[in-house]
């Protein structure tokens, strides 16, 4: 394997990383910062285009062997449809975040180049996480994703809450990274290998009670690191504070992008490296999923702050997503992972949209993100209210939206793995969630606007980016909600190879 081939394997990530450097460089010499958003978006779109090209090549066996993934750097990275699917998803989330950020940052007088550069570096790390087939490369990518996110959370550093969010996220995040590193070190100690396939082979040779205890400790540590990143209960306490304090576009990105990368990356690690040892971590994951669904949904009920409500809702969705891992682990079939990919896509659309509407309102008037303040939104901003209603219905999981199909595939995978009771818990919990999602719709349509919620004149900075991004997300929610087949086929195609097919 020569170096050229290895670069081809990580090409989408390289393109995005180069984009980050170009943004930083242009920022140094250009006074008008508006161009930086375009450069960053161009970098992401180029990265996604490369990934789409590679997907077609893999499908048609043009330059790659469709049966065997192309690997590079001594098996540390692998180019396959799973990684490419995620690259396109991450780039899409990134472009949407840029569209949501532009007017918001201009209004907060915080339009500096570092924002887009750091965003692209986070996405580089996210791509690295799904491309990695080695725990060392995985951990480095994990850190590359995490570190700029801490900075982005504190990006509005004059705002105390933003600083608080950054510090809280940093301390808990660094702590969880350390725990994850311990877990990975123990996995290495047990198997003597760092590549996923090597770990799977090494663990298969272990036997006896000693080995089992050893693995339980290792997996509990790895799952803890994973749980922190996806904000699963009981590792969720940082999420509401950080989501509330961080700049809203960053919150939208953390809730969708970082979570998607954590799920996609860890799903690969769990399946490829530890799939055969499922019995040793089944209980941990099941307890984690049930707790996360119940606590996330129940604690979302009393929230009057919309950002906090969406934070608890994102905890609850992390619980649903964990079900996919459990289904895949128990049944050994790829449907659970395909359902996760589909759900990540759906969740990104509806959550970016919901946060986008909040940003949209915030750009037009004084807005502290409380529930009372969106009263009467249907009259003051009718288009925003309709779109918000679409996202809330989709987050609840009501057809004909993408959220319904996401939950449908996930719960189908769970039932097919003979874990019907788990699916029942999930369905009950998602009907609980209807209360706090649909309450938003109720406020927008059936409550009067509060005093002093007058619209300011259209701001100087154009809202076009936000409007287009939110409208596109709503269109995606509805179109894929009506025709889910192509996306599901793509997700199923993406997971075929990582299941040792």
């Amino acid at each position: 394997m020569n170096a050229g081939n290895a670069v081809v394997v990580i090409l989408p990530g390289v393109v995005v990383a180069v984009g980050a450097f170009v943004v930083f460089l242009v920022d140094l010499f250009v006074a008008r910062k508006a161009v930086l958003a375009w450069i960053a978006a161009a970098g992401l779109i180029t990265g996604a285009a490369v990934a789409v090209g590679q997907w077609i090549s893999v499908s048609n066996g043009l330059h790659f062997n469709a049966r065997k993934p192309q690997t590079g750097f001594a098996g540390m990275v692998s180019l396959d449809k799973y990684a490419l699917f995620c690259v396109v998803l991450f780039a899409g989330i990134g472009v949407a975040t840029i569209m949501l950020s532009d007017a918001y940052l201009a209004r907060r007088k915080a339009a500096r180049g570092e924002f887009y550069g750091l965003l692209l570096l986070v996405i580089t790390g996210m791509i690295g996480m799904v491309v990695s087939t080695d725990v060392v490369a995985f951990f480095v990518s994990f850190e590359l994703m995490s570190l700029p996110t801490y900075v982005l959370a504190g990006y509005l550093w004059r705002d105390e809450r933003s600083g608080e969010a950054s510090i809280k996220y940093f301390v808990t995040g660094a702590f969880s990274s350390a725990i994850l590193a311990f877990g990975l070190a123990l996995v290495y100690g047990a198997s003597g290998q760092t590549t996923y396939s090597g770990i799977a082979a090494g663990l298969a040779k272990l036997s006896g009670l000693d080995a089992r205890g050893f693995l339980v400790v290792a997996f509990v540590l790895v799952v803890t690191g994973f749980g922190f990143k996806i904000s699963a209960v009981p590792f969720h306490n940082w999420a509401p504070d950080v989501y509330e304090g961080a700049p809203t576009p960053v919150t939208a990105f953390m809730a969708t992008g970082v979570k998607a990368a954590a799920f996609a990356g860890f799903a690969r690690l769990f399946v490829a490296a530890a799939g055969l040892q499922w019995q040793t971590w089944a209980h941990t994951m099941t307890i984690l999923a049930v707790l996360t669904m119940v606590v996330g949904n129940v604690l979302a009920l009393p929230q009057r702050n919309l950002k906090r409500m969406l934070a608890y809702s994102s905890i609850a969705h992390a619980g649903y997503l964990t079900l996919g891992l459990i289904a895949a682990g128990t049944s050994g079939k790829p449907l659970g992972i395909a359902a996760i990919l589909f759900y990540l896509f759906a969740y990104a659309l509806m959550n970016l949209g919901a946060f986008g509407v909040l940003i949209w309102i915030r750009n037009r008037r004084k807005f502290a993100y409380t529930l009372g303040e969106i009263g009467g939104l249907a009259r003051t901003m009718p288009w925003a209210a309709i779109l918000m209603a679409v996202f809330m219905v989709s987050l609840t999981g009501i057809p004909p939206t993408i959220g319904f199909w996401g939950k449908f595939y996930l719960f189908t995978a769970v039932v097919q793995a003979n874990l019907t009771w788990l699916a029942i818990v999930a369905v009950i919990m998602s009907s609980v969630s209807a209360y706090y999602y649909l309450r938003v719709v109720w406020y927008m349509y059936f409550r009067e606007a509060p005093q002093g919620a007058e619209m300011e004149a259209e701001p100087k900075s154009s809202q076009l980016g936000v409007t287009v991004a939110v409208s596109l997300a709503a269109a995606g929610v509805l179109v894929v909600g009506l025709f889910p087949e192509p996306l599901l086929k793509a997700a199923e195609g993406a997971v075929r190879l990582i299941f040792g097919g």
């Binding site: 020569n2 170096a3 450097f21 930083f24 460089l25 140094l28 100690g189 272990l206 000693d210 080995a211």
Partner: protein, 122 residues
């Protein structure tokens, strides 16, 4: 394999236990036999240094931090460069290009620091 693995580490566990026990023993022993007559002088943080003046929570120039970071960057560069020179021949062109990329990224960081005014002391 695993039981062997654990017994191999038995020495380390003994060592940790013995080390801990030694610390406790020494502290306990000195506590028991040491006469204790505390004065204000003796309770000062540095009994035989400069007398402490003022609040230690005074603000200090954040620039030290920026310089510290820059120093760290080039420190790490040196750490990577020295082993690289030893295996330069075996790495071939790819190794050379990779190191050039690495230095270019670091140089870019310096450019960034310079343009952002991190190198100015005022």
């Amino acid at each position: 394999m695993t039981s062997e693995y654990l017994t191999n580490w038995l020495y380390v566990w003994f060592f940790i236990a013995a080390g801990g026990a030694l610390v406790v023993l020494i502290l306990l022993f000195s506590k028991l036999i040491n006469p204790s007559h505390l004065t204000a002088e003796k309770l000062a943080p540095y009994e035989c240094g400069i007398p402490p003046v003022g609040n230690p929570w005074a603000p200090f120039a954040v620039r030290y931090y920026v310089f510290g970071l820059l120093f760290l960057v080039f420190d790490v560069e040196a750490v990577f460069l020295f082993p690289w020179t030893l295996v330069f021949r075996t790495l071939g062109t790819a190794g050379f290009v990779e190191m050039l990329l690495f230095i270019a990224v670091l140089g870019f960081g310096l450019l960034y620091a310079w343009r952002k005014g991190a190198l100015e002391w005022a």
